[in-house]
């Protein structure tokens, strides 16, 4: 009954655009949602609140990979980085000062990053707009295949003058993005569970990540908890998620993505993976397990492709 998230699909002929295209029923569903997309205090509140946690997830991962002393040529230029427990050893004022200098240095490097981003299945643009407002982002391209949501995204973008030069939407399939377009950050949020061939979409999406760049996804595990919280409670009982948003059989287990990325481990590593959940009075929060319910994952492309260690699939 469940579709396997086949690792073999990496070797599909990615040239066939229909594998990454949207299905008619999904398109119709999102058409209907388009007009309420930005209603942060109505039917789309959960997605708006989720966007906050996703942005934390993205920026925490990017920030934690900044190497403060990477450009220092002499020791004098280097910032002192004390041991991990310096807060316990040094006087409070000094450790505060060190923390502040490290924060400032990280922040200054962060601000200067000038990242290029691709947001796949951008919908009305919640994540695209947020990315575009970040001081370390130079340009965001949001793509989607539902014309109505792209229209909404374009309209909403006009409300904020700071977005006009940083954000661009395209009604296009992933396949129509030229192979040569590479990005520092590629995102695929709440989208893989809506496509028929997630492995192909994922594979294609990863091909657009620059060396050293990041890929972020958020989606839902195929388990009883997910069915219960998102479909049964969310759509039918609490009615806080629009009816028909989810199709259980399309949910993808975290372990399936993990196994897939493993086949690419000379190129990509999973740097973070976190479960998350929503409670009406609390908002979204991280859970201890990424194997249950909603989860987010961060992948980083290695700077250089490591030599391929041939593992024969058949032999396993």
């Amino acid at each position: 009954m469940f579709r396997r998230f086949s690792t073999v699909s990496r070797h599909f002929n990615a040239g066939k655009s229909n594998f990454t295209s949207i299905t008619q029923s999904e398109k119709e569903h999102f058409q209907q949602l388009a007009s309420t997309w930005w209603d942060s205090h109505g039917s789309q509140r959960i997605l708006h609140k989720m966007n906050i946690l996703r942005m934390d997830f993205i920026s925490d991962n990017v920030r934690s990979h900044i190497k403060v002393n990477a450009d220092a040529e002499t020791d004098d230029e280097k910032l002192f980085i004390p041991g991990w427990n310096h807060e316990n050893i040094l006087p409070k004022e000094i450790s505060n000062q060190i923390n502040k200098e490290l924060d400032d240095a990280t922040w200054n490097m962060y601000k200067e990053m000038k990242l290029q981003c691709l947001d796949i299945g951008c919908g009305g643009g919640l994540l695209s707009e947020s990315l575009a407002r970040l001081p370390n982002v130079e340009k965001v391209t949001g793509i989607d295949m539902t014309p109505e949501v792209i229209e909404v995204a374009n309209q909403h973008k006009l409300l904020d003058p700071m977005l006009s030069n940083k954000l661009e939407y395209k009604l296009t399939s992933l396949d129509d993005i030229p192979n040569s377009n590479k990005y520092d950050i590629v995102t695929c949020m709440e989208m893989l569970e809506h496509v028929d061939y997630p492995a192909i979409v994922l594979d294609k999406a990863l091909s657009h990540v620059k060396p050293g760049g990041y890929f972020f996804l958020s989606t839902i595990n195929r388990d009883l908890v997910s069915w219960f919280t998102t479909i049964f409670m969310g759509e039918h009982i609490l009615k806080i998620v629009p009816l028909g948003t989810h199709t259980f059989s399309k949910y993808i287990k975290e372990s399936e993505i993990r196994a897939f990325v493993n086949t690419l481990k000379n190129e990509f590593e999973i740097i973070d993976s976190k479960g998350c959940a929503y409670l009406p009075a609390v908002g979204w929060f991280y859970t201890p397990s990424s194997n249950i319910g909603n989860y987010m994952m961060a992948l980083k492309r290695k700077e250089v492709v490591e030599p391929v260690v041939l593992v024969k699939e058949e032999a396993k």
């Binding site: 609140k49 934390d56 922040w107 990315l131 970040l134």
Partner: protein
Amino acid sequence: MFRRYLSSTARNWNSAVTTTNDIVIIGGGPAGLSLASAIKTSPILKDLKCTLIEGNKLIDSLESYYNNPPEYIDKRVVSITPTSMDFLKKIGGWDYVKHDRIETYDNIHTYDSISGAKMEFDSPELATMIENINIQSMLYQNIKRANNESTENELILLDNTKVIKIEEDPHSEWPILELSNGNKIKTRLLIGCDGYNSPVRKFAQIESRGWSYNRWGNVATCKYRDNEIRLSTGWQRFLTTGTLALLPLPNNWCSLVWSVPPEISNILNKLNDEQFKFMINAAAKLSEGELKYLYQIADNDSDKLIDEIKWRLEIFNNKPTNNSEDYPLEIEFIVPNSRAKFPLKLSNADSYIEDRIALVGDAAHTTNPLAGQGLNMGQADVKSLVETLEKSYMRGLDIGSKIALEPYWSDRYLPNHVMLGIVDKIHKIYSTDFTPIVWARSFGVNVLNNVPFIKDFMVQQISHKD
């Protein structure tokens, strides 16, 4: 969407907009200036385009205070908690404080007029008395310094400029302000630090609920008789007509806050400084019955007032059971023109945020100055709002959107509400002379005094310590 035109949409609204800002702050009081200073010193927010607009002529008076501090302490003096002081240090303002004009004290003597029940609050560094203008002046100096450090994106401070109209861009729904100098500013986020009549709150159609106490707060800067040196102590006497508070300032000066009903306030207003001084000394010591009689004399026969009070105080002071340590020193001098009065009210806005709007300080809530919390609540608001803005900015949210401002609201509304409730309850318990309640009240206070845990809780609330 929900609102809201203070007046009809101006024609040609767009062509006349001169600038677009990320943040506009209305109000250069303690709340507005701390907010501006905190934004300018935040590594994350400092490059936002930000303007502060103040209706009064502020800059000249703050410069002149800083460069040539006046001889006498100003009548608007507030009590700040260690938490507020730490915040002012963190945002850099405290570097420019006039140290010789502030007084820190750790003890408040509280006593009441009917039962003699006493309560002493004791805590390390309970509070610091400081002039409102000392706070404004240090913050202004700090903003100047921050502006000099990053000249490419200065915080603009427009004083002597009133916001005369606020309307909404019909397309983006961003607020557009019309200023008395003819300019128009459009802004992503409008922050009302514009005091208890807040035009911003009215524009956002946020209801403010509360009540007036039918009491006037009378303030003055006074000097104690110099014949005795005492440790800095605050004095509060709960009278059935309201509270009399004498809070310490440097060199045996003190700040009076005396709340009275309108009838008595009218009588006090007619007195000259000398008579008023005697009235304070009477109110600090004499019985309610005597005071009632003295108000009558003050009203009808004020020439006799001073002699009458002298005579009664002499009897009081010579009574062996009256220990002078239990009462404040008598007032010897009142700074000319330092007397003022203001209505006491308590209010809390239904919300501190709307799309594109945040309210801070007295614009969001007012309290009676009894517990000296008005300014401190505003400082806590500023701290929370700045943290919210930093977080939202880092998350790429539109910092003017309601969803981005929500953490500020959920962080501040409840604590302010609790604090207003406590202040209100203290006021209500202490402003009655209905005997059973007075008994309960003194019982309550005596209990408070003997159960350290309850007292500690109240001290903690008043000094915001945790």
